[in-house]
Symmetry: C2
Subunit: 229 residues, 2 copies
């Protein structure tokens, strides 16, 4: 019997690389999907390519979608990325790095591709503990998307398969994610987390994403291998 | 007080042109959103531009998204478009012109733009009577998308506004839609419906969409003005 297929949303960051490793560990044939959405940290796409290659995905689609047309986020406009915020502040409010409806857009494309592949499995590396307070990372959002998808597609209506959105990291701390990834052979030197890298692609070390990564490696008691340029 | 803003999904066809007219009639400030998604009938984008201009939209965004990367539909691949099907056959099965997750993708982008605009209103010209049996045109799908959206965005979480997806045509026949549009000043000569036009942009007169349009004008007792090239 051939392996079940799954679509993995792969950003090039620590969480999605670990999620891809989990999907491979669970014996899925993997199809990676990344987006060039106008993010200022598009260096993450190079990271995504290397990670996809390393894990032997069957196909990696990098889709350009121009979210700069709408703006509304520090990641897709010239608004400054917040720096040096405490972890407490991060969880208290939704920051300007929130990209309107981003996960909804990403999951919608994943749903389309899964249907064409004859797959009912999507993997998404969202995390509801060590994160920036984004609404579209919460379990109740994932459940509502799944229910909507059960009415949206020909595959669902014809009962060919039910959609499952796998979120293996959703209840893990960053340190737990890192330990799990290392167990599964993730080379975190390939990953990039910074929202606001230098033109050369170096991390700023001060945005929310950098700070959450730093604390994760500290708590895991491991030195961050960092991405080599 | 300034007018409420709304995002209108505008394909360039008869239904979405009528939907834009309804939104204008209801005094919304309108923002039109169209997609170049790899459809073989991309002539509809020229139609969308003219319709948007004629109705004085505040902005018209035409977003390229390459759904040909995934294929799976006669509209986004080289699969042949079915011709000369009876209306009964159309409603009995979901045809190969179904584009996987298309309305979910379109609504997700509309949701993003609405949030940036500070709008809670999206207009979509779906129709559950004279249509091709697509699952993402049904009322229960629209309700599930709305519920998902209520958990997806910063605007929803912070209770700035609730999303309403307006589907003014959903329970109308094609003939009723045409009469309503004529009352509201829609010039149907600007619209195009064909899934499989000639290279010059002429309608094939034989695909589901052409046949539904023909029957609609016949039942309305009106001559189709057709799109002038």
């Amino acid at each position: 019997m051939s392996a079940k297929k799954a679509v993995i949303l792969l950003s090039g960051g620590l969480d999605s690389a670990t999620t891809l490793a989990v999907a491979r560990y669970e014996s899925f044939e993997t199809y990676a999907l990344s987006f060039l959405y106008g993010q200022r940290h598009h260096v993450e796409i190079d990271a995504a390519k290397e990670i996809a290659h390393r894990f032997g995905v069957s196909r990696h689609v990098i889709l350009p979608i121009d979210l700069r047309q709408f703006g509304g986020s520090a990641l897709t406009s010239d608004l400054p990325v917040p720096k040096d915020r405490s972890i407490e502040t991060m969880s208290a409010e939704i920051p300007i790095t929130y990209v309107p409806a981003r996960n909804t857009i990403f999951l919608s494309f994943a749903l389309a591709w899964a249907e064409v592949l004859g797959s009912g499995d999507i993997f998404l590396g969202v995390n509801a503990l060590d994160y920036s307070g984004y609404p579209d990372c919460r379990p109740e959002y994932i459940e509502a998307f799944t229910r909507m998808a059960s009415l949206a597609t020909k595959a669902a209506v014809e009962e060919k398969h039910r959609l499952t959105i796998h979120t293996p990291l959703i209840h893990m701390t960053k340190a737990q994610i890192i330990r799990r990834g290392l167990d599964l052979g993730v080379d975190y030197a390939l990953t990039t987390s910074c929202y606001d890298p230098t033109p050369e692609g170096n991390a700023c070390d001060r945005c929310d994403s950098c700070l959450l990564r730093q604390r994760g490696f500290e708590e895991a008691g491991i030195t961050d291998p960092r991405r080599a340029l």
